[in-house]
Symmetry: C2
Subunit: 182 residues, 2 copies
């Protein structure tokens, strides 16, 4: 079963995290949430307390095929300030594995000096925090091994674009029907 | 600040729960999750562990303006089998307060013998579990004080329809912009 890791920092955006989690799990993938602190209990930007599956510090995430960075404030800043996150992110990106980042999280790419050659989208509020990156806007963008999304309102689209990287169209069609998207 | 309660049973659908939670919180409402068991830790249908804000047993939910019942399996069955849930639901419905139910959760209305006169939608998989209720289908339906949704893929629409019952259009427009729905 293909593995997916979602990084959870305090202040994460809950739709951006759990729409992809839900869709990818329904697609048959093994999806695990990973706290970037030493506490498994992580709070969303709006105070929802979630217990993550793993800690980043003592987990080997190298068996995953996709790493997801949700947005949310100050979640994306916490991701950007973490050396552990940078290490895992750079490893995934440089090995050509899939990386997904939505909303404020594309700024974490910039902070770690990767993907400057890729077309991206991000939240309009952080466009000035991504240096000279090739921002093209829109709900979702795929370029090479990088998938980006602009915000929580497009969490489902982001989730399905991530899924399209790992499973076939029939699987995605079945999942869409199961959640009543005809 | 207007209060909203979301009932959480083991096996709840995470998008159907937290898309409305996120939208209504962004709209300035005071949204609380309520575990229907004696354990504050509740697991989603796909194994995500969430710590609820309250327990149903020792909480007075009578100050709320909206009660939300998410779907998810076996979450909606657990809601339907709970006498405590029935008591709160019947109280809200009969007092003309807002009630929201999505996916499998409209079956909980039927189980408690309320809202048989209302037009509803629900997940296509539970249409045979709502007796002679006036099922009209579609993504979301509003009829009187009852708002129903068909499934996780329309969690955002469901959330915004719930929001429209409690806040003005300007507030909703601002929230839509904040999550990049133009």
């Amino acid at each position: 079963m293909k593995k997916v890791y979602i990084l959870l920092a305090d202040g994460f955006e809950i739709m951006e995290t759990f729409a992809p989690h839900d869709i990818l799990t329904r697609c048959g993938l093994d999806v695990k949430t990973v706290s970037i602190s030493s506490d498994k209990n992580v709070k969303s930007a709006h105070g929802v307390a979630v217990t993550s599956d793993l800690f980043i510090e003592n987990s080997d995430l190298s068996d995953g095929e996709l790493l997801i960075l949700p947005g949310g404030y100050p979640g994306y800043e916490n991701l950007g300030n973490s050396k552990e996150v940078g290490k895992v992110l750079i490893d995934y990106y440089n090995k050509g594995k899939w990386v997904g980042a939505i909303c404020g999280a594309p700024t974490v790419l910039y902070k770690n000096n990767i993907a400057a050659d890729k077309k991206i989208t991000c939240h309009s509020g952080v466009k000035d925090k991504i240096g000279n990156y090739n921002y093209i806007g829109g709900a979702t963008v795929i370029d090479g091994n990088l998938i980006t999304g602009d915000g929580a309102g497009h969490s489902l689209d982001f989730g399905f674009l991530l899924a399209s990287a790992l499973v076939d169209d029939d699987t995605i069609d079945k999942v869409k029907k199961s959640i009543e998207i005809k």
